[in-house]
């Protein structure tokens, strides 16, 4: 690959890192919000006996992978959608007239978005481990990281798709509330779906379900996931990830500034 292309990837990446580090409020919000969920909801539900949690599993430990997935999903998606900011503030034009391929720009943006999201994801993960969430072992931990990366890239891809279809940010809250939140509720992030036949059937059509379930299986041990074959979840999530990235990059490369 030519140096200019590598430079473009680096520029798109470092730019997002710098902006991320500089926006203190964004860091606080994106880390504090999932912690609120984890501790407040976690504390509230821990006193209720919930079927489907598995033996000797406390609710907050069941909940932890769900919150890790949620925080990665939200910040990656936002990173993808932030292309829209560049479009509105004109910076996208500057990038698009540079003598580099759009693929490099997409790679750089995706890496940048994924890196910032994963930093947040890891902070939540370590806090969760800190409060006693068990980790099933070395293989489990490695699988956890792989799932986190896949979730992140899929969500950046989804964000890119939204960004190339949206004209402004007005439709963003609608998409969040009418599409992402229901999918998240049905993903077993907040409560087990395995006890209810209808919910479980719907969950099988929900891409987020495979992500959350796979992440939980890797973290807490395979007994805690609905799909008992980690390779199957991994395969499905990888496929989702590739499809999202391909569509996202295709649409981005077609967009005119």
């Amino acid at each position: 690959m030519k140096t200019a292309e590598l430079q473009a990837i680096y520029v798109m990446w470092i730019r997002q890192m710098k902006k991320f580090v500089r926006s203190k409020s964004r860091i606080v919000v994106t880390i504090v919000q999932p912690l609120f969920f984890l501790f407040i909801l976690g504390a509230g539900f821990s006193s209720i006996s919930m079927p489907g949690l598995g033996e000797n599993v406390e609710f907050i430990h069941f909940f932890a992978p769900g919150i890790v997935a949620m925080s990665i999903l939200f910040s990656s998606m936002f990173a993808g959608i932030s292309v829209l900011w560049d479009k509105q503030f004109g910076f996208l034009q500057e990038v698009l007239v540079a003598p580099v391929s759009r693929i490099s720009i997409i790679i750089g943006r995706t890496l940048g978005g994924a890196t910032t999201a994963l930093i947040q994801g890891f902070i939540i993960l370590f806090i969760a481990i800190g409060i006693g969430t068990p980790i099933s072992g070395v293989t489990g931990f490695i699988l956890t990281i792989i799932f986190m990366i896949l979730i992140s890239f899929s969500a950046v891809g989804f964000g890119l798709i939204l960004a190339s279809k949206m004209q402004d940010f007005q439709s963003f809250p609608i998409i969040m509330n009418l599409i992402i939140m229901p999918l998240l509720f049905l993903s077993s992030a907040f409560f087990p779906v395995s006890e209810n036949e209808t919910l479980l059937t719907i969950a099988y059509f929900n891409p987020l379900f495979y992500m959350v379930d796979g992440l939980r299986g890797s973290m807490l041990g395979i007994d805690n996931s609905v799909i008992q074959n980690p390779l199957l979840s991994l395969g499905i999530v990888s496929t989702i990830c590739i499809v999202m990235l391909l569509i996202g990059s295709y649409l981005f490369s077609k967009s005119e500034a």
């Binding site: 030519k2 200019a4 430079q7 710098k18 902006k19 500057e94 698009l96 007239v97 005119e256």
Partner: protein
């Protein structure tokens, strides 16, 4: 704002900078090509609206070319096509010999652009914006470092280099953008309304940069503007575009002469009567009637004033006022489009001042 310094101060910087460019220039400028931009039948249609229609012309190497027209005439669309941001519906163009459709990357390497709307990342510092730009244009570390110093000196932003761009004033942002456009030694620099929304002093300073850049750095400059004084001051040749079509394209002096060596503007109580009479005179090269005035293109205007007054008296027309002046680009614009660019602006302003609700339904 740090622009209170006299222009000489900038000129000193510019001179130093230009000398550096002159040395490094050959490395970047490519082959000698007299027609640096060659546009053939360039057309862009959006749904049913034709924004640019069969535009053809050439821009010569080293000149400052001005693309004039009222808002919405097709200037920015043309620039976007030339800079590979939009695909033409029909026709094509070459820049420095490279086709804007088939050789995008070569074209992109040869051009610098200052967009109409700000296109800088305001969450980064001025220096970071320049640094990242240089990286994407494949400049190595030493080149980057050297060039950033030069260019920050040129636009007098050394002291603000580590400041986030969101804390810059409008003029400082514009200077940074011009600096960025020049970072990679472009053969052609596109400036889309470079002084839009700037105060008079900053405009002057930016004009000086542009002029010097062109004269001694030999960068070809393609600028769009709807300020006639800007075009008059900066450009060698101008093209006037309206409703997506080129109306006229020539040297500024030729265009002005085409209106007449001198322009006489007069107001009287019976415009039609006087006009009919004056049309018989062959020493008047052009007559235009406006709402309350007549403009006449003539030679040696001051000698013609008494003659005109005499003619008017003979047919009992009372002249209220009469004046003679050298033609400006405004006159040229008026004579080719039938209206002044200010008329258009007034119309636009009226449109904009309408309550937003009554303008709904566009989107």
């Amino acid at each position: 704002m740090k622009l209170k310094k006299p222009l000489l101060y900038y000129n000193k910087h510019i001179d130093r900078f230009i000398n550096k460019i002159r040395i490094t220039k050959n490395k970047y400028s490519g082959e000698k090509n007299l027609d640096i931009i060659k546009i053939t039948n360039l057309t862009k249609k959006f749904d049913k609206i034709t924004a640019v229609e069969k535009v053809s012309f050439v821009v010569k190497k080293g000149e400052v070319f001005g693309f004039l027209g009222p808002n919405g005439a097709g200037k920015t669309t043309t620039i976007k096509m030339l800079t590979t941001l939009l695909n033409p519906t029909e026709g094509t163009a070459t820049i420095a010999g490279y086709d804007i459709i088939k050789q995008r990357n070569q074209v992109r390497k040869n051009i610098g652009i200052v967009f109409q709307e700000p296109a800088i990342d305001t969450d980064l510092t001025g220096e970071e914006n320049l640094e990242y730009h240089a990286r994407m244009y494949g400049m190595n570390k030493d080149e980057r470092k050297k060039r950033i110093e030069e260019i920050l000196d040129l636009v007098d932003l050394q002291e603000k280099r580590k400041v986030l761009v969101k804390n810059y004033s409008g003029g400082m942002k514009r200077r940074l953008e011009i600096a960025r456009g020049l970072m990679h030694y472009p053969t052609v620099l596109f400036l889309d309304e470079p002084t839009l929304g700037l105060d008079a002093q900053t405009r002057r300073a930016i004009w000086e940069y542009i002029k010097k850049m062109n004269k001694e750095g030999q960068t070809t400059i393609f600028l769009t503007t709807h300020y006639m004084d800007e075009a008059d001051y900066l450009c060698d040749r101008v093209g006037i575009i309206d409703h997506g079509k080129i109306l006229i394209l020539d040297d500024i002096s030729n265009l002005k002469n085409s209106v007449g060596r001198d322009v006489i503007t007069l107001a009287c109580d019976d415009l039609n009567k006087l006009r009919n009479k004056l049309e018989e005179k062959n020493w008047i090269s052009k007559i235009k009637q406006h709402e309350t005035t007549l403009t006449l293109g003539v030679e040696k205007g001051d000698e013609k004033i008494p003659i005109i007054i005499e003619i008017a008296q003979k047919i009992n027309v009372k002249i209220k006022s009469i004046s003679v002046r050298k033609p400006t680009l405004d006159d040229v614009f008026l004579s080719y489009t039938g209206r002044t660019i200010r008329d258009d602006e007034q119309k636009n302003n009226l449109g904009n001042s309408m309550p937003p609700r009554s303008r709904g339904g566009h989107h």
